[in-house]
């Protein structure tokens, strides 16, 4: 197919292009309690093509682009026609000129070796065993679960010599824990690993079952008011997506974000933990074929890297890094127990937690929280929190305990002062 696409590009005299090829093989298992409900297998092969059209408008050099899918079953003529239409469409895309990345043919990078990790079906079996290993209680159990074991081979070719590929494994899924007494409640939990980490999944199931049992004892919403709110688990990562997004060239170029290199994004007179964030390269190349490596994002609250694709990076006059979606944050200054002193509201489960990178607002309905009045701790459910990171980022405190979530390795908990809670 690659040859057919290159031939179609030649037929249309197109010299600037990007081809993304992706081969995905997966095994998928769906469970209701301890029964296999459905099993699935997938073998798909995808191709997408971006064509670039250089032209001048009002004396200014432009580079338009248009991206299309090339599907199996397309004839040579169909491919050529689709490329022709995409190139024509790109002539209406009046984006200022930029350079696409250059490179050469590199050896494939293998992040997944089936000889070490096992076949996809074998990995699915191992992860199933881990999923149900802690499901041995009567009052709290796994209601349902899904496991996806996926091998992806990505191949990136462009007209500037880039010809790179890598193969990776992803084990993803979700499960719902249920506790029936004293009241029937459930907790949704997702998981994602790049290797068959059975111990991590067992631990996650164990903690989720414990959390669900605690939720079954929670009956009322917390009183309305302002609280020191502690978030833990995957919600900590959600808070930090604010910094990841605000530091992207795609948001800085149109001035949606005011971040600049060297800027102290947390502001002056930080009384909590100064932020140190590292951008982690989860894959060896960006979607454009830019080599990706770990980079410092924030050092003591100061912005060290703006990350982004070739277009926005060119406009900003910075090195194109590729766009990152994974971060590392070192441990904080207080233990989780030290954070839980005095009065606080520790939210461990939301219906849906939202972190708005444009406004700084974060909010969510509470499914389970622990309310401490300074003396005793009570499980609560219902009501919502509504705060703004811009107002509390100087005072945030991070835990010494760490965790690993999809796209995040860092503190297990974060403390946010004076957050508004709508409760009973």
């Amino acid at each position: 197919m690659i040859d057919k696409i290159l031939s179609g590009l030649n037929r249309n005299n197109i010299s600037t292009y990007l081809i993304n090829e992706e081969i995905v093989e997966s095994v998928e298992l769906f469970f209701i309690k301890k029964q296999l409900d459905t099993r699935r297998k997938k073998d798909v092969h995808h191709y997408s093509l971006t064509v670039y059209n250089d032209f001048e408008k009002d004396g200014r050099k432009m580079r338009g682009s248009s991206k299309i899918g090339i599907y199996n079953g397309m004839t040579d003529d169909e491919i050529s026609k689709a490329i022709h239409e995409a190139y024509y469409a790109a002539s209406f895309v009046c984006n200022p000129y930029y350079e696409i990345p250059a490179g050469k043919k590199e050896e494939p990078v293998v992040l997944y070796n089936p000889e070490e990790a096992g076949t996809l079906a074998g990995v699915a079996g191992k992860m199933t065993e881990a999923l149900f290993a802690e499901d041995k209680l009567n009052d709290v159990f796994i209601n349902s679960a899904e496991i996806f074991v996926e091998k992806t081979t990505s191949h990136i070719i462009n007209s500037n010599g880039i010809d790179v590929s890598y193969q990776k494994l992803a084990i993803k899924g979700e499960f719902v824990a249920q506790c029936i007494e004293p009241q029937d409640v459930e907790t949704y939990m997702s998981f994602s690993y790049d290797k068959p980490d059975t111990e991590a999944l067992k631990e996650k199931v164990k903690k989720t079952l414990e959390m669900t049992k605690a939720r079954a004892a929670a009956k009322t919403a917390p009183p309305t008011g302002e609280y020191k709110v502690i978030l833990s688990g995957r919600y900590v990562k959600e808070i930090f997506t604010y910094y990841l997004m605000r530091s992207s060239a795609g948001l800085i170029y149109p001035k949606y974000s005011n971040y600049e290199l060297g800027m102290n994004v947390q502001g002056e007179n930080v009384t909590g933990d100064a932020l140190n964030i590292t951008l982690k390269a989860k894959v060896p190349y960006s979607i454009e074929g830019i080599p990706m490596k770990d980079r410092p994002l924030l050092e003591n609250g100061v912005l060290k890297t703006i990350h982004g694709n070739s277009r926005f990076s060119y406009y900003l006059g910075i090195e194109p890094t590729g766009t990152y979606d994974c971060i590392f944050i070192p441990k904080g200054t207080k233990t989780f127990d030290e954070m839980k002193t005095g009065e606080y509201l520790h939210v461990v489960s939301f219906s849906d937690f939202q972190m708005d990178e444009l406004s700084g607002y974060f909010s969510g309905e509470i499914r389970l929280a622990f309310l401490c009045d300074g003396k005793s701790v009570t499980p609560v459910t219902g009501g919502s929190i509504n705060g703004n990171l811009l107002e509390c980022q100087k005072d945030i405190v991070l835990s010494k305990e760490m965790q690993v979530e999809e796209g995040y390795e860092g503190p297990f908990a974060i403390s946010l002062p004076k957050v508004s809670v709508a409760g009973k």
Binding site: L36, V176, S190, L358, G383, S384
Partner: protein
């Protein structure tokens, strides 16, 4: 005009038929869903112009479902020709069917009856006035550029105006022992989103558009720049709301998300199977005010959630979920109906041929009432008019609901004061909220600009909506 059939599906159909015949020789039930879908997203903003396909809703591919005498399994693939048929059959037999052998001790296989393969044959298409692919990129980009530029020029405080449209034209062919169904659908959605900054904080407001059709939609977008800009600027003066319970009027977009989250997800019957939905225990009981009647169905409206058959070959229906406040029935896919001994309702949907079918919503909405919006506002001593919903989340197990709403307009002594609060979290117990509905306006508006997820994945196109409703709601 009617959407034309896919030439690709027509050409590939004999090979699919050959594959199906081979499968039916070995398995008691087999079906194939074939998809040929193309999409295009156009966007113009200060960031530049984008023309791209939406990869989630584009592509050609197939999903085979077989019954091995005990349970069902599926194989998704996108490469087929006559020579590959034996290879596909081999993979199904030796790599898919055998997957149950990897189960550890203590994990067993579910047992199902065979699907009732009711005979059905048709080829139907949706209609449009202007096909986006024929209308052309030049005119679309030109239109969106003018919208975006006029939005940005409206006021110096406007940071950006993003104007976009997305269209999908898809063709689906469903083959089984007794079924030969084909459908051809085109939908188009539009979005105008403006941003204005208040220091580091960026406020935004959007207006969305949708139809079961083509770029005739652009006419609706032409005259809205001024109103979107004014509302965006209003948000710069907004404040956080004082948490509490208030009399509220929900605009149709908010009503729609309430319907969707409250008793849309709440009656997806695959949740009944898992005992994850409280609604199962409340069939034929009052769960809402007698003013509330609620529908879901691909045949219940002509919007982006419409189709002629679902991804399991079940014809589209119009299901009345709540009738005058009484919960009547849920919606289901085929496998769920097999487990529950019910009839599938045409709600078995897949994100694409690459994904499993789940029970999913289509067009979900509250019916109209008899009240006028002005009378509804006049009836409130102190409360809020809620507009511009940005997200929602369901909790079918405990009937909690969460909506993020961008605008709460203050109402005092029956009048809008002009004060705006934002953002607002709407939460509550679903039956309390629905039973508190005391007024319902006389016009329904549906919006199909968004996608619906099952949890945090499996995105499918839906529409939802309703009239203005008056209810007692907790805001924070």
């Amino acid at each position: 005009m009617q959407v034309e059939s896919s030439l690709y599906l027509k050409n590939i159909k004999p090979i699919l038929q050959e594959l199906l015949n081979s499968l039916l020789q070995k398995y008691k039930y087999a079906s194939i869903l074939a998809t040929d879908s193309k999409s295009r997203l156009y966007n113009v903003s200060k960031r530049g112009t984008v023309i791209t396909e939406d990869e989630i809703i584009s592509g050609r591919g197939f999903v085979v479902r077989v019954y091995d005498g005990t349970s069902y399994c599926e194989y998704s693939f996108n490469e087929i020709d006559k020579e590959r048929v034996p290879e596909i059959l081999d993979k199904i037999e030796n790599e898919l069917i055998t997957l149950k052998n990897v189960l550890p001790d203590g994990i067993t296989e579910s047992k199902f009856d065979i699907i009732n393969d009711e005979p059905c044959e048709f080829n139907k298409s949706s209609e449009y006035e202007t096909n986006p692919w024929q209308f052309g990129s030049s005119k679309i980009v030109d239109f969106l550029t003018k919208l975006s530029e006029s939005g940005r020029a409206f006021d110096e405080k406007i940071l950006d105006c993003s104007a976009s449209i997305t269209c999908q034209q898809y063709h689906k062919l469903f083959l089984s022992g007794n079924k030969d169904m084909e459908q051809n659908i085109l939908w188009t959605t539009g979005l105008i989103m403006m941003m204005a900054s208040r220091g580091e904080e960026v406020k935004y407001y959007y207006k969305s558009y949708s139809n079961l059709g083509g770029t005739e939609l652009l006419k609706e977008m032409e005259n809205d720049i001024s109103s979107v800009a004014k509302t965006t600027l209003e948000l710069l003066e907004s404040k956080p709301i004082k948490p509490g319970e208030y009399d509220c009027i929900c605009a149709p977009d908010v009503s729609g998300v309430i319907a969707h989250e409250a008793f849309g997800h709440g009656v997806e019957m695959d949740m009944f199977v898992k005992k994850r939905a409280l609604a199962e225990k409340y069939i034929d009981e009052y769960v809402a005010s007698p003013l509330v009647t609620m529908h879901d169905g691909a045949a219940a409206a002509k919007e982006t959630g419409s189709y002629m058959f679902d991804d399991e070959g079940v014809p589209a229906q119009d299901t009345v979920i709540i009738d005058k406040g009484i919960l009547k029935r849920g919606i289901s896919d085929v496998q769920t109906a097999l487990r529950l001994g019910t009839t599938p309702t045409g709600n078995g949907r897949r994100q694409s041929y690459e994904r499993k079918a789940y029970t999913r919503m289509t067009n979900t909405y509250f019916e109209a009432g008899k009240d006028k919006v002005e009378d509804m506002i006049s009836s409130i001593e102190y409360g809020f008019l809620l507009e511009n919903c940005t997200s929602g989340m369901e909790d079918p197990k405990n009937w909690g609901i969460q909506l993020m709403v961008n605008i709460a307009r203050e109402i005092k002594n029956g009048r809008l004061t002009g004060k705006v609060y934002s953002p607002v979290v709407l939460t509550g117990y679903v039956p309390d909220l629905l039973k508190s509905i005391s007024m319902v306006s006389d016009k329904v508006k549906l919006s199909g600009s968004g996608f619906c997820g099952k949890g945090y994945k499996e995105w499918v196109k839906v529409s939802d909506g309703g009239p203005y409703i008056k209810a007692r709601i907790r805001l924070g």
